[in-house]
Symmetry: C2
């Protein structure tokens, strides 16, 4: 056995009730492919951009003023401290994934400011310190003080794990001790209007073994749903304080709040061995997947209050699908995967990552989506946070959130269990499990479905290699060969293909998934998608942008016949970096006569006329809005013409 290796974002304690053990970010070194490109643009553009903006927008200056090192007034959103923390966490995982570079200067600078801004008793919040020093925790319903602590704690744990730099950890422990003194041992019974600290405190417990942090997280989780978050004119649902986590059956209210809370619920459940708590969260996950999840993995159907909608309320155009919600959803699903070992959770992680998270950043890494809809109409007048990607946001929660996830992406690719290694994400990588197994994964996934796993190093005793079989790749259209010999493709009850043997260095396992393009239909209860069809390929949702359609064809007139022929090939010259695997589909062009009077009638569109047949072109959804502001659709109408 090699010596212990640094942990990643999630490191359950030895006693935790989890089936799988995650690896550290440094243990899964991504060597290329799409995931490698995401890490490159994050490292080279997004993180430097975020660091520069945290300084130029006055966000860091707020803390410098609180530290007595600068003059001036508070600037930006009142929870801006959290941006500094998320940037630091992104920097930390960056370093773990790609080794030291000049980011250490950034760490020194930001950590120093945070150290000096902290009050002697551990309190730290520049907005309160600069604007209402006597108002500590007085407006928790909206002040986000504990929310900011959560991100600070996560950044501190990340820095210590990734770089061994424990300076911010000391700050975070003083913060956490202050919270425990006030909210656990002290008389306070209230809650932050925005969950986030719950999962952070559990991770701090895991990192320090200080039990009171877990107790505090548990207390916050149990208090939720009893009105302790205070009164908001947006209601207790917005605060996700309307129902206790043990009885709630569905997610409502602010999506990011609800999803961060669930990550904390699962963390508390596995560390305390609370089956009931875990089961309740899984029940909500199942309900959310069945009724409140976009094809892209997006969560939050409403712009108003950035909230979940009702069951089956999944509009493609006005859905919110906030980038932060996608990150939080991955945190939740990943924790459930560790607890249960079931592939359905990894399936959603992959869907959300390859579509919503991947789309949230421009191909150049310097523009960002806050909102991720599945449709944009021509000449759209989007709500304020909608529309095209922007260089930054006054509420800058999303860009650094994506960056911290991409920086730590290796952590989400593989796990170990007592008797095996599980491969969840198919990324080209070198994986060192830390207990004598080293694997090399070679693949052009998702462009290509072949994943080649070479065992470079292995103990003598047998162990199980477990490969996730994605739900979209039917066993009948999937091939598996072990050391050159075809093997059966029968997933176990958790959805993984098991190869159990005594390995020799150089052994090769090849998995060939079916990434042929496919048509996907919505359930008939999804009112906003009735009568439409989408195109998917492997883990990728595709979309139709106006710019890719034949000249003279308006996107909104395109319709696909059920069972339409789909072909795929690499295409260059689309105005996108590198060749793109496009999907071409035989499509009908519906007649669009001039519109007068109400758009309702006795025969109106009962069967719109087909005026032509063309080839419609789709590109991966994560590439949309990188060329112009034209119309886009994931879901195309189904043609009235019989196949």
């Amino acid at each position: 056995m090699s010596e212990p290796t640094p942990a990643g974002p999630v490191a359950p304690s030895a006693a935790a009730a989890v089936r799988l053990r995650p690896l550290g970010v440094g243990q899964v070194r991504i060597t290329g492919g799409l995931a490698g490109e995401w890490q490159r643009r994050t490292r080279e553009v997004t993180v430097p951009t975020a660091v520069a903006l945290v300084e130029s927008t006055g966000t860091l200056r707020n803390l410098e003023i609180a530290a007595g090192e600068a003059e001036g007034e508070f600037q930006g959103m009142h929870f801006a401290d959290s941006d500094v923390a998320k940037v630091l966490e992104a920097v930390a995982w960056q370093l773990a994934a790609h080794g030291p570079d000049d980011l250490h200067r950034t760490i020194d600078h930001l950590t120093g400011v945070l150290e000096r801004a902290q009050r002697p008793d551990g309190y730290l919040n520049s907005w309160i310190q600069l604007t209402a020093p006597d108002g500590r925790y007085a407006g928790l319903v909206s002040s986000h003080e504990l929310y900011c602590y959560g991100h600070l704690i996560q950044a501190a744990v990340a820095l210590d794990r990734a770089t061994g730099d424990a300076r911010l950890l000391a700050v975070a422990r003083r913060v956490a001790d202050h919270v425990v003194a006030e909210f656990l041992r002290g008389g306070r019974r209230d809650l932050d209007g925005h969950p986030e600290i719950e999962t952070a405190l559990v991770e701090l417990y895991r990192h320090t073994a200080e039990r009171s942090y877990l107790d505090q997280a548990s207390e916050f989780v149990e208090r939720r749903g009893h009105g302790h978050a205070g009164q908001s004119d947006r209601g207790s649902v917005y605060l996700v304080d309307h129902e206790p986590v043990r009885t709630a059956t569905t997610l409502n209210g602010h999506a990011v709040r609800a999803l961060y809370l669930e990550a904390g619920v699962v963390d508390v459940a596995v560390e305390t061995g609370d089956e009931e708590l875990l089961t309740a969260s899984i029940r909500r996950w199942e309900d959310t997947v069945a009724h409140k999840t976009a094809l892209t993995g997006g969560h939050g159907s409403r712009h108003l209050f950035e909230a979940f909608g009702d069951r089956d309320e999944l509009p493609p155009d006005q859905s919110y699908n906030e980038t932060c919600a996608a990150v939080a959803s991955i945190h939740w699903s990943w924790r459930l995967l560790l607890a249960t070992g079931e592939s359905r959770f990894a399936d959603l992680v992959e869907r959300t990552l390859y579509n919503t998270v991947a789309a949230s950043t421009s191909v150049d890494g310097d523009r960002f989506f806050y909102v991720n809809p599945l449709q944009r109409r021509p000449d759209s007048t989007p709500p304020p946070k909608g529309g095209r990607r922007r260089p930054w946001f006054r509420c800058a929660c999303c860009p650094p959130n994506g960056a911290r996830l991409i920086g730590s992406l290796g952590h989400y690719a593989a796990t170990t269990s007592g008797d095996g290694v599980q491969l969840h994400l198919f990324v080209p990588a070198v994986i060192d499990t830390g207990d004598g197994v080293r694997l090399t994964v070679a693949t052009e996934y998702p462009d290509d479905g072949r994943i080649r796993v070479t065992v470079d190093r292995t103990p003598a005793e047998p162990w199980r290699l477990e490969l996730r079989l994605p739900a979209w790749s039917a066993p009948g259209r999937t091939a598996l060969t072990v050391a050159g010999t075809p093997a059966g493709v029968g997933p176990d009850e958790r959805g993984y293909l098991i190869v159990d043997r005594a390995w020799r260095p150089g052994d090769v396992v090849e998995l060939d998934l079916d990434v042929a393009p496919r048509l996907t239909y919505p359930h008939h209860r999804l009112d906003a998608l009735r009568g439409t069809v989408a195109v998917e390929r492997g883990p990728l949702v595709y979309c139709f942008e106006q710019v890719d359609q034949p000249a003279g064809v308006t996107l909104d007139d395109l319709a696909l016949t059920a069972g339409a022929t789909l072909t795929t090939h690499r295409e260059s010259g689309l105005g996108l970096p590198g060749p793109v695997m496009v999907v071409d589909a035989a499509a009908d062009v519906l007649a669009a006569p001039p519109r007068t009077g109400l758009p309702y009638g006795a025969t109106h569109a009962a069967a719109p006329a087909v005026r032509a047949r063309v080839t419609a072109r789709a590109v991966p959804y994560h590439l949309w809005d990188n060329r112009d502001d034209g119309a886009m659709r994931v879901w195309l109408p189904r043609s009235p013409r019989r196949p």
Copy 2:
């Protein structure tokens, strides 16, 4: 000729470029029917409720404090003064429609408070006077000072016209003179963030012949769209200040603001004979009807910022369709009808009135909708202003808005022109045109399609009776008899059936419209309604409520086959007052297997199975939510089964 009779809400000047001349509220006395019932519940319940609440909620007290007659702090929304004005206007039209009663005491009381609250220079706004006396017009982007003036002016004109009580008119003139001194003659170039005063100032000009009021209204209209409304974090679109009214081609932003502005635009256009301005407004009306109007006439597709959506963005579930927007839309369409004499404008007035406005108040008259969606899902978690009807709202704009419209409903039923009388709304009434013609209209419309018009009094010389032929009643299914003799049913180029003759007292004209229930389909560009069908009957949109469906049948599983058989009959015992004309439809029940995993798949719902056939029941949309909080749909899915 009889002596001039008091005018209604809209009274174009003699010089105005209008084709039709409206009648006063007292000239069209509604004698029963559905409209009579709306007036009854408004008179007996809504108005007394509104008066009591204006006093009990502190709204009137704000003005009493400003008048130095009470102590305390400002309560409620900062534009609460407008509620007092709207209630007064409702009271005024009430009196005109039904003669004097104890409402005069209310008028004395409220008018007196407003008189005494007004500053010597004419300024009047209790919020500014109590909270920021030095901040007059300093925050017009959101202060609503001119918006409140608008409602005050409309109430004052209504009181003088309806009752001859000119006390509030004196207050309103001082207010208007103050506005003119500040915003026309003074140096101010800014605008209220919320239009409303424009149409009010034109009406005050019409009532007083003071030209500066028209000039001020014209100035406000022309200034719009140049950024003079100030900066809002919701953007200039929200303020309807993003494009000048002469060039804008579609409505965006806050629906009520946009629609009140259009009423003012048309008023200015006809009083100044500005063809270009009128044409621009008509162009936007055509675009709005073709792309941004719900089947119920509702406007505003987004809860966020109560705004219009993009073209063809018409969700049935999350549409806002604010009650105030419906009232404002009727103001706009009515003014365009007067200007052009074209039935399409009256058609939309009727659709909006019989569906959105009618539904906004409970059958008991004491509960109100702020938001009027076309679908409610089971177990819905509606946004704050959505959900069930409420007894009142902190932002109480809607209930009194509906009341002032219903009180003055007679005004919208008929008009005169140089050579004829036009009947726009088919309500049982006695109509006195004021120039020697008296008609009695007898009908059970919309339950029944027959409208019987008796000429009680007539001059000797011939004149034209013009009857609107609704777009939904095809000439081939419509019958017209004049004095017992069948007549041709050919509408003129404006959409009216013309009966031109020398009349004798006792002459009877009978129009028989086709009110058989019909299936209505959405245009194929309406993404949110694709693959659905609705039921209409005459001017009424119908809806399916869970409570009316067969036992064991879930509303969301119902589907209609194209061309489904519809039958109609009067039904009692539905838990609604009086018998209701229901529509029964042969429907399929779609199978709903348990939901697991994502609601998307290779075959998912491409053709859901039909598990049974039942009779689904629809009731008029305006009666929904009067029994329980169950699911409701206007648009039902179309069955996959071929007819």
